[in-house]
Chain length 453, copies 2
């Protein structure tokens, strides 16, 4: 049976690509406050043309967020989340075509943001155009929020979610999505880890000293090394008392989902250029660690002389940056308090701990009816079981804000045209044109199927 | 009784200053290979004019060293060591007068190298001129070596000392010297600590990774922190097995000398901008630690992201620089071997240890007749007991080379015009004009007295 939107899609081949190219041609770099108002206006007009009642949501200090609502046949309300901002394109000299001039090569569309995530805005829009053309209306009610600061950590999204909670309420949400994996299985992710990001600063002496004075002077670098070493066991576990108190163990269905994921160990080893993973783990143990283990990562270290050769200096100051990835139900502020207590108990009152970021872990349970519905739709669409990630290792601060102020259960589905190794955040970001087509069809299928539930 | 050289010195007031200004006007920056040949030629001509038979000693890859010999009345042979190179003058904008334009302000002569140590070359020359003018010859035989790479660690001095050992043999040596302390007591130092300088390099992943992968990827930064923490106790002691095996305890006379030193704790606290010293030590314990304790210092630390704000990265690489200051009879290569064994035993085979420098500790015993002679001469000259440092915290790699290949017992006497806080290695380096005069007179007295022994 041919889906009823197929004739429209065939006669409008390239509509999604055109929409994506329009968005990608407009630079929108949040880190540089570049082109944000213009891109918000463009996104708003594209939503207008797709039948949404739109407005720009304003928060002091933030670029406008674009909001649209469109009533559908079924009162079931779906909240879509996207962002119109992109990462800076640097290093520019590694791009084979200019980052803001969308270019097709070898069946792929190259542009900054095409994968993360203007491509998804385009495929969602194209599917909505198709369904409206065929049915005169959408099968479900769609609310759509497109912010402009995701690539800088969504610093104003909590304020936005709090102020505009009424506009964002929905039965379920689809966040910035994924795609299909190397085996063409739909990729679905049900949540993200939380984050506590801190900077440690230590001052020993007032000025850098000759290292001949090391017998009598306090050393900032040693204090830092000892304080850091006190935080973690050599096996990677946390030494902070109470760190694991609130950690939920994985459920049976989460473990089953992990076990059924496509094997990508070889690709991971190649991507990170390692011979083996930490402690030589592999298989199910590797998957479990990756999904469910909270971490204590050193992101940066700096003290003293770091140039070529020899300088015999006792550095006045030392600095470290650490991120702790948290799992349900760890709370970043609780972990921060425990970290501070631990350092104090160890006599490290001289170590200043500055919080630079925090976000809650957000995970939708496998058993949630919306999750089960998307799994069914995806499997039917692809003819293959989806590959489900219960928790991804990264963090989306906006999810915590949404959960706190709105409370929509959500997931990341295969509606983006992203595919493995597509250069998100890197030079020559691209998607395959065939993936754009598939994503549009998946979105048509999904919106339609949700309208039948 | 007026010393017989006084009339000469009074009629030639300013001769030392003129010599020093001549030397300081000629830039000679070893780190930048700037002006070294010119300065060697200038120094050689100044030694010629002072009655020395001179030559330039050549070692492949090194700037020429200047050598002079002058037979005196007494066969007692004294080896003088100096260097004609200086530290780079950066940061230039902090100089109140140009670093290579010697300038007098407030009774002080400002110039790069005036304290370290062109000033000493000038005061030694001026004293030799005076004694030759009065007596027609020097009271003792003087051999003088002036190298051009001290400020970059004397990398070719061992080869020079080995090749020209015959020229450098002497009954005793005076190294680059000190001055008089805040109480006008002559400062005498009898040796320097040794040094082992190493760089640790660790590679975890082949490329920087998203820190969300921390559960499964090896972390170079954590490996480095753990390896470093394994090297030292929180109290500052070494955990390297055998580190202290060859350490000689201080002798009674060394401790007595330390006890009789001028108290400068308050000045040290101010200089390093600390409220108190490590572990709150003070008094004799502070002095003992400073002189006799070998150290494990972190001179540099670098890994990952060290800029402003947040970057959630798992760094591929981490680096540390460490210097170990060694006391008699520790040996840098022995300590390096013990360090490597310790890391291997701890499972840290992934930590690469690169030796960047090494030097033996060199200490002349208090009991040595030459030491006792200089102490007597200094006390008679100043009317106050000298302040003796058995071992200074710093390292002069040339001393180890000299001891190995030549074997001249030596010390640092008060013949330099240096005084406390004179800005050696820093902007606005200077000496007091009155200290230049005193240093010339001390050198006359000392050469003369050594001729009477």
């Amino acid at each position: 049976m041919i889906d009823r939107w197929e004739p429209y899609l065939e006669s409008h081949a390239g509509e999604a690509q055109t929409l994506i190219e329009q968005l990608c041609r407009q630079p929108s770099i949040a880190a540089q406050n570049l082109g944000l108002n213009e891109t918000a206006d463009l996104a708003q007009s594209l939503l207008d043309e797709a039948g949404f009642a739109t407005q720009q949501l304003k928060i002091e200090g933030a670029p406008p967020a674009v909001y649209g609502e469109q009533r559908g046949r079924n009162p079931f309300t779906l909240l879509l989340y996207n962002h119109y901002d992109v990462q800076p394109p640097d290093p520019l000299d590694l791009w084979e075509s200019p980052p803001f001039e969308p270019t097709v090569r070898d069946g792929k569309l190259f542009a900054r943001g095409v994968c993360d995530n203007k491509g998804e805005i385009g495929t969602r829009l194209a599917a909505i155009h198709a369904l409206r053309a065929v049915d005169g209306e959408l099968p479900i009610t769609v609310r759509w929020i497109i912010e402009g600061e995701e690539e800088v950590g969504s610093p104003h999204f909590a304020a936005l979610a709090e102020r505009y909670a009424n506009l964002l309420r929905a039965d379920a949400g689809l966040w910035e999505g994924g795609g299909f994996d190397v085996d063409d299985r739909p990729e679905i992710a049900l949540g993200t880890k939380g984050l506590l990001y801190v900077q440690f600063e230590v001052e020993g002496t007032g000025i850098d000293a000759h290292s001949g004075e090391a017998p009598i002077l306090p050393s900032a670098a040693w204090r830092l090394v000892e304080a850091l070493a006190s935080l973690r066991t050599p096996e990677g576990g946390s030494r902070i008392p109470g760190f694991y108190d609130d950690v939920l163990p994985p459920t049976e269905v989460q473990l089953e989902a992990l076990a059924n994921k496509t094997d990508n160990e070889e690709q991971l080893r190649q991507a990170f250029q390692v011979d083996q993973f930490l402690d030589g783990v592999t298989g199910m143990e590797l998957r479990e660690r990756r999904a469910f283990r909270p971490t204590s990562n050193i992101a940066g270290l700096l003290s003293g002389y770091t140039g070529e050769g020899v300088k015999t200096v006792l550095p006045a100051r030392a600095m470290a940056k650490m991120d702790f990835r948290l799992v349900p139900n760890q709370d970043p502020d609780d972990i921060l308090a425990k970290l501070r207590s631990h350092l104090k108990a160890g006599g490290y009152e001289d170590i200043q701990v500055i919080k630079l970021g925090g976000a809650e872990p957000v995970v939708t349970p496998m058993e949630h009816p919306f999750v089960q519905r998307i799994l069914e739709i995806s499997e039917r669409f692809a003819g293959k079981p989806p590959s489900v990630t219960p928790i991804v290792g990264g963090t989306l601060p906006l999810l915590g804000a949404l959960r706190r102020h709105v409370g929509v259960p959500g997931l990341m589905g295969p509606g983006n045209a992203a595919y493995w190794a597509s250069g998100a955040h890197a030079p020559n970001e691209h998607v395959r044109l065939s993936d754009i087509d598939r994503a549009v069809r998946f979105n048509c299928t999904m919106f339609d199927a949700l309208g039948q539930s």
